[in-house]
């Protein structure tokens, strides 16, 4: 009787822990653990048929099918935020300077490339957590902290602060970094909403195609460079990136690529 109470109290704790995990794989394994506890509870509730079926199907099969459905290993997992000119989606395809560099690196390393878009503030976190191997999409070398190795800058850039009319946000007059997706910013500019953000050159160029007369534009000082943030756990990948970039720089191919996207 007391064992049953313990298990019953354990169930919501396990479920809450499983659904608040940050990584997908942790959530799946925690749900497998929950299924096992549930099977034990069914056994103590005098339902052995249900217990065997739940443990065979819920704990074993469901967990293994989830694991089979997420691709992970043998690939370079790239998490990126949208950056027009560098890495963007056009209809079905992905284009951009960084996308070509990434494809070239993956092809020479013999690995599969898988790309996922995420909100800008999650990109570095995802690499630090270990969810992805490379952060791309307008990552500045200043953004990489510890745990992330930056490859050498492949394109110099500058930072711009865009402050919008009627900004009723936090009292800090300095603008904040980009949060969310870049297409949100585009929407805000198109509808002339309030805006206070720091953008890099590529995004700023894309934004300046719209009417920015209502906004206050200021170029911040300091020189930055675009880089890829590689997770510190993939040293081999980082070395490969550095070699490949050096090779492209020497042969002049990098300049040709840049000229194609940023004339």
């Amino acid at each position: 009787m007391i064992g049953l109470t313990i298990l019953l109290v354990l169930l919501p704790v396990l479920a809450a822990a499983a659904l608040t995990q940050r990584r997908r794989s942790s959530a799946i394994i925690a749900m497998g653990l929950f299924s096992f506890t549930l099977a034990g509870t069914y056994f103590l509730l005098q339902a052995p048929d249900v217990a065997i079926t739940e443990s065979a199907i819920g704990a074993a099969l469901v967990t293994s099918i989830y694991v089979l459905a997420i691709r992970k290993t043998g690939r370079i997992t790239v998490v990126a935020s949208e950056a027009p000119g560098l890495l963007q989606r056009e209809a079905d395809r992905i284009t951009g300077l960084e996308w070509e560099i990434l494809e070239r690196v993956a092809r020479t390393a013999g690995l599969d490339l898988s790309l996922n878009f995420a909100p800008n503030e999650d990109v570095i976190d995802a690499v630090r957590r270990g969810d992805a191997d490379v952060a791309a999409g307008g990552v500045l070398s200043a953004d990489c902290g510890d745990g992330i190795l930056g490859t050498g800058p492949h394109l110099p850039t500058a930072r711009y602060a865009v402050r919008g009319p009627r900004w009723a946000g936090p009292s800090d007059p300095r603008a904040g970094p980009l949060r969310g997706y870049f297409s949100d910013i585009v929407e805000t500019v198109r509808s002339r909403g309030p805006l206070c953000v720091v953008l890099d050159l590529a995004r700023f160029l894309a934004l300046s195609r719209y009417d920015l007369s209502a906004y206050d534009v200021e170029q911040l000082e300091g020189s930055h460079g675009y880089t890829f943030g590689v997770s510190a756990a993939r040293e081999d990948l980082h070395r490969h990136f550095a070699e490949e970039l050096a090779r492209m720089r020497e042969s002049g191919e990098l300049d040709r690529m840049i000229a194609r996207y940023f004339p």
Binding site: L11, R24, I28, Q46, I57, G58, A69, N116, Y181
Partner: protein
């Protein structure tokens, strides 16, 4: 309020529903749906369950009265169907992720609405 299977199953249902609404990742949403299913099954099994009863297997020496075996039979089919439908749902999630390169549900919604508009 005593801690029996039914209250725990209602609590689990609430947790799963919260997880379904608040998490953005598609795979975690599917996990929450499976959890809703499990909580309902727990409620059905523990409605008339007596922990001091006997399991529904007839033994010759008569012991305590067996528990109600009808919910067990209903629930067995439910577990298997849950697994089958979950596998199918995972197939769709895999196809979606391949096409849109993200498991973020909000982003997928936005992309599909843009496609519909154009």
């Amino acid at each position: 309020m005593e801690i029996n299977g039914v209250t725990v199953s209602i609590l689990l249902f609430g947790i799963a529903l919260l997880g379904l609404i608040l998490r953005r990742d598609l795979v975690v949403k599917l996990l929450a749906l499976g959890l809703i299913n499990s909580s309902t099954i727990l409620c059905l099994v523990s409605l008339h369950a007596r922990p001091d009863g006997a399991a529904p297997i007839l033994q010759t020496p008569s012991g305590p009265e067996i528990v109600d075996p009808l919910p067990h039979a209903m629930v067995l089919s439910a577990i298997v169907i849950n697994f089958a439908i979950l596998a199918l749902a995972l197939v769709f999630v895999m196809l979606l992720v391949e096409r849109y390169h993200t498991t973020d549900s909000q982003r997928i919604e936005r992309e599909t609405s843009e496609e519909e508009r154009s």
